[in-house]
Symmetry: C2
Amino acid sequence: MSWSFSIGSISGIRIRIHLTFALFFIWIGAAFWNEGGMAAMANGLAYILLLFLCVVLHEFGHILTARRFGSQTLDVVLLPIGGVARMKCIPEKPGQELAVALAGPGVNLVIAAVLFILLGSQTIMQDVAQPAKNVSLLSQLAVANIALAVFNLVPAFPMDGGRALRACLSYRMDRAAATKLATRIGHILAFGFGLFGFVSGYPLLMLVALFVFMGASAENNSTQLHQLARRLRVSDAMITQFSTLPVTSRIADAVALLIHSTQHDIPIVDGVGKPIGLLTRARLLRALHDLGADGQVADVMRTDVPTVSDRAELEDALRLMDEENFPAVMVADQRGHLIGMVTLENLDQMLLLARLQPRE
Amino acid sequence: MSWSFSIGSISGIRIRIHLTFALFFIWIGAAFWNEGGMAAMANGLAYILLLFLCVVLHEFGHILTARRFGSQTLDVVLLPIGGVARMKCIPEKPGQELAVALAGPGVNLVIAAVLFILLGSQTIMQDVAQPAKNVSLLSQLAVANIALAVFNLVPAFPMDGGRALRACLSYRMDRAAATKLATRIGHILAFGFGLFGFVSGYPLLMLVALFVFMGASAENNSTQLHQLARRLRVSDAMITQFSTLPVTSRIADAVALLIHSTQHDIPIVDGVGKPIGLLTRARLLRALHDLGADGQVADVMRTDVPTVSDRAELEDALRLMDEENFPAVMVADQRGHLIGMVTLENLDQMLLLARLQPRE
C-alpha cells in the first residue's frame, strides 16, 4: 500500500502528495473556517497552495541542478513538513553536491526578491507589522519564502543546510567520515528541535525533528554501506545457506519453508537449479490471502529480480537494489546455477559487524 | 542497556524509575522554578512526588489483588505517563481480571475519599475554584486522584478501563475474540487521543496515544499467539533449517555464519550434537566489540537457554520465553540431540500466516 498519490508531472517528474499532507490541508482549511468562515478558509487555502507551489519550485531547484550533473530524479513527494525529491545517484563530488543543496533555498530567495521588487520592500515591511489577517497574501508569501530558505539552511543533515555542510566537510575528509560527522550534528540539532517543540507545544516541529533524526541515520547508513561495498565482491556478502523451491511448488510449500527456516525470501528455481524468480515474504502473505494454500508459487513470484555473478562488485549489486527498489538480488555461478542471495537486511547486518571490527 | 533504574522495593516488588520519567521530573522542576523561584519549585516537586506515590499505590492495588489470585509481579516501572506493573501470568478468568483491573482506579478513589473526609468537601470545592497557586497541595491531590481514576477507566485497552472491558467481553465470547475487539476499540480511542493532543498541542497526550496504540497491538498479538500455541506442539513451529557451531569455534566463525545465512541465533553444540549454549546476535555483536574475532564462542554464549522436547506443547515453550525473557528455546530429540529452535520472531510470523489462512 502506498501512502501518496500522484497529482501530475512537470518535465517528466511525477509530483506526489502524501496522505498526511492531504489531511494537513483539510485540517488547515477547517482551522481557517473556524476562525473566519468561508472567506478566511478560501484565503487560507490559497496561501497554503501558493506556499506549497514555492516548495515544489524549491525541489525543482535541486532537481534541475542535479540534472546538469547527470543525476535523474524519480519523483517529488509533498509531506506536511515539506517536499522530498527522490533522486537516483545524487552527485557525490563536493562542489556538485553543494550546488544541488543550495539551489533549493536559492529558489526561495529568488521568489522573495521578485516579490520584494514587485510589491516594494516598504509595503512588505509595513504589512509584517500588522495583524496577520490584514496582511496581503503576497507579502505573507515573501516573508514565508525567506523563512523557508533560512529554515532549510539549518545545518541539520539531511536538510539542505546539512547536505551543504557535508559537501564542505568532504573537501577535507573522505565522504563516509564527512557523512558521519554531518549525521552527528544533525542528530544533535534534531534532538534540540524535538525538545523545543515538546516544551513549547509545536507538534509539527517534533515531527520535523523525528524526520531529520531518522533521515540522518538512514542516509548515514546508506553512505557507509556503499563505502564498505566498494571494497567487496558479491561473494563476500552473499547468503549461501538458504533453501529454494522448484517452480512447480504450491503456496503451502512456501509457507512451510517460512515457518521452519529463518528465511524471508525464497528463490524459485527450474529443474537444473537455475533461478527463475523470487518469492518475497510480502508476496507470499498476499498470495496466501488471495489464492489460499493451494495456489502456485509460479503465479505470484517476482520475475524481475536480477541475477548477478558472484564475482561482480558488491557496490553494483547494492546500486541495483537501491535504485530499482529490488528487495534482493540472486547470485549465479558461471553456468547460471543459483549459489547465493544478497538482501538489504543482511547487508545492514554486515555493516554493523564491520563497524565493530575496525581492525580487519 | 536498561532505560530504568531501581529506587527500592515494597513487599518484594522492585520499583523502577524510567529515565524519561527522571527527565520529566527535572523538566517540571525547572518549569516551576521559572514560574516562581525556589518556593514554587519545592511545592511543585512535592506535589509531583505525592502524585506519583498515588500512582505507585494504584499499581499496588493491581498487584495485591492479582496476588490473591496467585499471580506474581516482577516489578513496577514509573513512566512520565504513569506506572506499569509487569506481572507474570495475569489471571485470565473474567471475574479475576475485572477485579485486578478495577483495583487500581479503586485505590485512587479511596485516596480521594479519604482526603475529602479529612479536608472537608467544601474546602476542596472552594480551592478548586481558585487560581492553581493558591490551592493547598492536598486539595490538588484529591482532585488529581479523581482525574487519575476517571482517566484510567477510559476503555482504551490496555489501560485499566480497556482491561475491564475485555474481562466483560470475555463473559460472552472467547478470550482471543474479546482481546481483538478490545484492541480495536483501544486503537480507535488512541487515534482520537493522538488527534486531540496534536490539534490542541498536548504532546503528553500524543505520547499516551502512542503508548496505548502500541500496547494494545502488543497485548493482542501475545494473546492470539498463546491461543494458537495451545493447539500446537513444538515440532509444528520449530525452525529445522539452521546451522550450529561446535563449542570450540571462534567469534570469527560465528560472524561468518551470521553474514552468509539468515540466522540470528546460533546454537552451540558439543561433539555429538547435543546443545550446550546459544549465541544470540546481540551477544555476538558485543563479543566482537569486546574480544575481537579471535575470542571463543564458549566464553560468550548463553548457557541458561532451556532445551525442550519436540513433543512438548508449544504453549509451554512460549510461556518459558515470555516469562523468563529467553530469546529462544532449543529443541532436542529423545537422545538429547539438537533438532530445532523456537524463536519469538518465527512464532510471530507463524501467527501472521495463521491469520491469513483461517480455513486450515
